[in-house]
Amino acid sequence: MEKQPNQVLWNLVFGVLLLLMGVGIYKSSQSIDYIWRWERIPQYVFYKAENPLRAEFDGTVATNDSGQLVLVNDFNDSEQTVIKGFSDVQVYDGDLVFEGDLLAVSYEWKAGPIANGLVMTIKLSLVSIVFAILLGVISGLARISPNPALRNLSILYVEVIRGTPLLVQIFIVYFFIGTVLHLDRFTAGVAALSIFTGAYIAEIIRAGIESINKGQMEAGRSLGMSRGDTLRYIILPQAFKRVLPPLAGQFINLIKDSSLVSVISLTDLTKAGRETVSSTFSPFEVWFTVAALYLVLTGILSYVVRRMEVKYAARS
């Protein structure tokens, strides 16, 4: 029997290595006199917003019949403001109040720039993934079409997109196409991301279809089914199962690539991070937080796809 590695020992080694990395990061930040201020970060994710109630007129605070505090206008009894629903009331019965004075404050939790950026990144990625799949499947099918116009169009699309940097494509979509067609930032961002990812998905779909045994197409055709029906009912369902792992990789890439749209002033997670850095002067904490949030997004996606793989694998 071949010698197997000692599970306990090598798991321990793994743990020690992790620990060393952590210590290394801590030490290196110490060596550059960096002061960690993690406490500054949470408020940029969620913060407690103050919602003040100020007097709109000069008046006196009184208690009404139902026991609520009210501010009554000194010059006009019928004008009253009921003070209710506030967690922090600053006035008492009988107080004299002038216009603009603080009466009460309530607090509510609001999403900070990083949370808003995260939502924008999720929205951008989800919409782009849908269009990228559409584009990718259509051009993947066109790539294997017997029609030369469709096939060459697909080859041209894939080669042009794969041969140019995404950043340049975003600029072209936003400044050229966006100006001609009057696209807003979000649409331009979605367009650039889905066109870019669609080209890679097209190649994945093509490879998936070509990996299915030629006999499957022949069997479908020999039963009198059209090429389209055979693709739809026989080839694509089998190909889909095979391309799921590379497709998942492409979706993860899309989420990460979406950080580049911050160059056209879309406030996604990355741009929110940059803005937070300029107001906190805590670049380390912010970028670690942003990285962790990206990791959570891509991790969830990996998990979902792995579940799908298991589900489809179980069926055959």
Partner: protein, 247 residues
Amino acid sequence: MPQEADAIITVTDIHKVYPNGVHALKNVSQTIREGEVVVVVGPSGSGKSTFLRTLNQLETINAGEIVVDGISLTTPGDVNKLREEVGMVFQSFNLFPHLSVLDNICLAPMKVRGISRNDAEDRAVELLAKVGLSDKAGSFPPQLSGGQQQRVAIARALAMQPKIMLFDEPTSALDPEMVGEVLEVMKQLARSGMTMVVVTHEMGFAREVADRVLFMESGELLEDSVPDSFFDNPDSERLQSFLSQVI
């Protein structure tokens, strides 16, 4: 070209040259009548599979003419119409692995003939009983043995109610002990009057079931005779040496 009264397949002087220059069929002519069982034998690379595949246009020909059930395969037309009438069974079964046995059989009748799921399933159950696999309707192809898969493939082709059945070495990919069960289904089919063209190496089957046996070598059709004279008094020397090697 008009076909003879009971001819269902008429092949006239066909040539097939593959893009790589291989001349797979040379001047092959053949007439097959309705209800006939024709077995094609020959060494590998002799063009017998290519010949079979030209009959439902899985291969196109470069010259000559083929008329199947009144449809000319050399004039442009709807090839699917022809294939509805010509069933095919492959050496490697080619079942659809993502569909259950029942769905394998029902798919084409529903999508091509447009019959309802209920009717298709009724017919599929009948056909499965015929090939002796009533208990496998819910299984998936990878769960079946080779012999069982090939019998499902036969049922799948029959579900389209074809007039002609083509068999491309249906038992060559099978373990020896499974050959018998597939041949038995084919014999039963032959007895029911189906027109069959069978490419095979099973000489026993040819002798027992065939109305005529064809011998092909290097793309040429060298012998065409009834089984008795084919096996007992072969005309050509090449057939004699072929038979001495395989029997």
